[in-house]
Amino acid sequence: MAEIGAAGFDPTTPLSASGNLRRRQFVSRFTEAGATGAAVLAIAVLAILIYTVAARGAGALSWEFLTTGEPTGIGPALIGTAVIVAIATAIATPVGVLIAIYLTEFAGPRATRFMKATLDLTNGLPSIIIGLFIFGLLIKPLEKQMAFAASVALAVIQLPLIARGSLEVLLLVPGNLREASDALGVSRWRSVIGVILPSALGGIVTATVLAVARAAGETAPLIFASSVFDATKVGLNPFEALPNIPVTIFFLSEEGNPTGFTRAWGASLVLIAVILFASLGARALLSRNRERTSR
């Protein structure tokens, strides 16, 4: 673009023939190639990663692998992960959405800045620290591991994601909807429940799904809260340690046993598939919402 502009619009072309211009254009081309190369590199790494996991995990996949317990399959771990993440999401979603509502409907600028900083700090906490936190808060006093503690830890990880995501869509709710609701004399809580939340629902669901995808793969807090379990049978009691996919992969990878590696690749493939589908789905939902609100 720049080159065309410089050369194409000047009839005397004072810029085109000098060696200096050639050098400048070379530098420009060189950096353009570098930037493109960086993008290609990132995508190549992603492709290699997914290809390896798919190629090595596909061999392990079977109906038996998905439904039976140790040592042949990962069924109980799948169910355990689902239970842990479901409870976490059930805790984090209402809290996150309520924080977002507080920030858009009630808070002044100072409270908003403070809460945003709190959410960013929570988002920046390393997950291992959240694991230590949940160990000190629940596991150590109660002297036993339980899936519920893992859920609380994952909820702490999800909370900032859901709150920030909901906040963004709540801010996008058209002002005239709010004003119309106010003009009809509708009280604040009725317009939040009846007008504002429904029009932001798509975005809130997107944020929640992304948070689920993030929580499903978290390993560090689960090592503290739900890592000593019986992986041979399905457990549903959240007050016991439940088998789960990330810790299963972690332990198998540390063991150094080839058949264990095959199982770990299979479990990785299942986990990656779930996470990528969830985030792709959330993304599709988001772009559909964007189109609708921008119209």
């Binding site: 673009m1 353009e32 930037a35 960086a38 990663l49 390896t52 808060l137 009725r190 793969g217 990878s253």
Partner: protein, 329 residues
């Protein structure tokens, strides 16, 4: 919140009773909504404070035993009750800074590609793919790291770097396996690139088009537009993004502990084994039986928490100054 009071004044008297009831319900509803929203915010703040409290509380036996000497001592012998985080702090800084050194330029280049070079259709495909890289769970990245990346690094990259750049002490003799600080840094690089890339892409896209077109019209090449207009106006934002990436790298536990090899000495070479604060916690906490061992691991967590909070606050400060400068313009 104000409207029901004035609205009811002009209503005809016969509807007064139902209006009265409605107003009472609305007052309760508004109060309730405000109450639970404020409670949710309080919960978030309390959680953050509790995280800090639990870290200090869990670490207190180790703090009272070792004091600040913990930060510099490099002995870590659980059997003898001797703990020091010196080599872990070194390992954390070494691996994270190397990852940032490698990752930040790549990520900024990707951000530039996505905002300046890529056609719209390509951008719509490449952006989600780059972000997908951030969605890969760290345990899978670490597992891939041990089985695929580490052997490759050990057989190809390490000998090559040692042969060509071996005069630098950081590129020392390759060790017996690929588990090394270098491999851990590469894994960390893969983790932080998508974070920095997507933030910097958004920053670059926010640079006013007219400024860039103006520079182009003056005869600037694309690179000169980037160097003269795009980077100067987004510099502090890019630094903030890099700090966020650094924070992520410092705190990553699982993937690092899988590939770094759990060495406990300070070595200048990237190709030696090492360990980080977070990696040590993930590796040893399940087997930590004595109270002092646990407390020492909590102490490591506390150090990590302080470093993490500081870098995050710094990033926020820079980011806010940047937003402020943007707003003024």
């Amino acid at each position: 919140m104000l409207e029901p009071a004035s609205a009811s004044d002009v209503r005809p008297p016969r509807r007064n009773r139902s209006a009265e009831r409605l107003r009472r319900i609305d007052r309760i509803g508004d109060g309730l909504l405000y109450g639970i929203c404020a409670f949710a915010c309080l919960l978030a703040v309390v959680t953050l404070l509790l995280v800090a409290y639990e870290s200090v509380n869990g670490a207190s036996p180790a703090i009272s035993k070792f004091g600040l000497g913990f930060l510099t001592s490099t002995t870590w012998q659980p059997n003898f009750g001797e703990f020091g985080a010196g080599s872990l702090i070194f390992g954390t800084a070494f691996s994270s800074f190397f990852a940032l050194l490698l990752g930040a330029p790549i990520a900024i280049a990707i951000g530039l590609y996505l905002s300046e070079l890529a056609p719209k259709g390509v951008r719509g495909i490449v952006s989600p793919l780059v972000e997908m890289l951030a969605a890969i769970p760290s345990v899978i990245l670490g597992f891939w790291g041990i089985l695929i990346l580490a052997p490759f690094v050990h057989e190809r990259i390490e000998p090559f770097l040692h042969d060509t750049l071996g005069f630098l002490p950081i590129f020392g003799e390759p060790q017996t396996t690929g588990a090394s600080v270098f491999t851990a840094s590469l894994i960390l690089t893969i983790m932080i690139v998508p974070i920095i890339a997507s933030i910097s892409r958004d920053l670059f896209l926010a640079v006013p088009r007219e400024l860039q077109d103006g520079a182009s019209a003056l005869g600037a090449t694309r690179w000169e537009v980037v160097r003269g207009v795009v980077l100067p106006s987004t510099g502090s934002g890019v630094i903030a993004a890099s700090l966020l990436g650094l924070g992520r790298a410092l705190g990553e536990a699982i993937a690092v502990t899988q590939v770094i090899g759990a060495g406990s000495e300070i070595k200048a070479s990237l190709f030696e084994t090492g360990d980080t604060l977070a990696g040590r916690i993930a590796n040893q906490f399940p087997g930590a039986i004595t109270e002092l061992h646990q407390a020492s691991l909590f102490y490591c967590g506390l150090i990590l928490l302080v470093i993490g909070l500081l870098s995050n606050l710094l990033a926020q400060r820079i980011g806010r100054r940047f937003a402020y400068a943007q707003g003024v313009k």
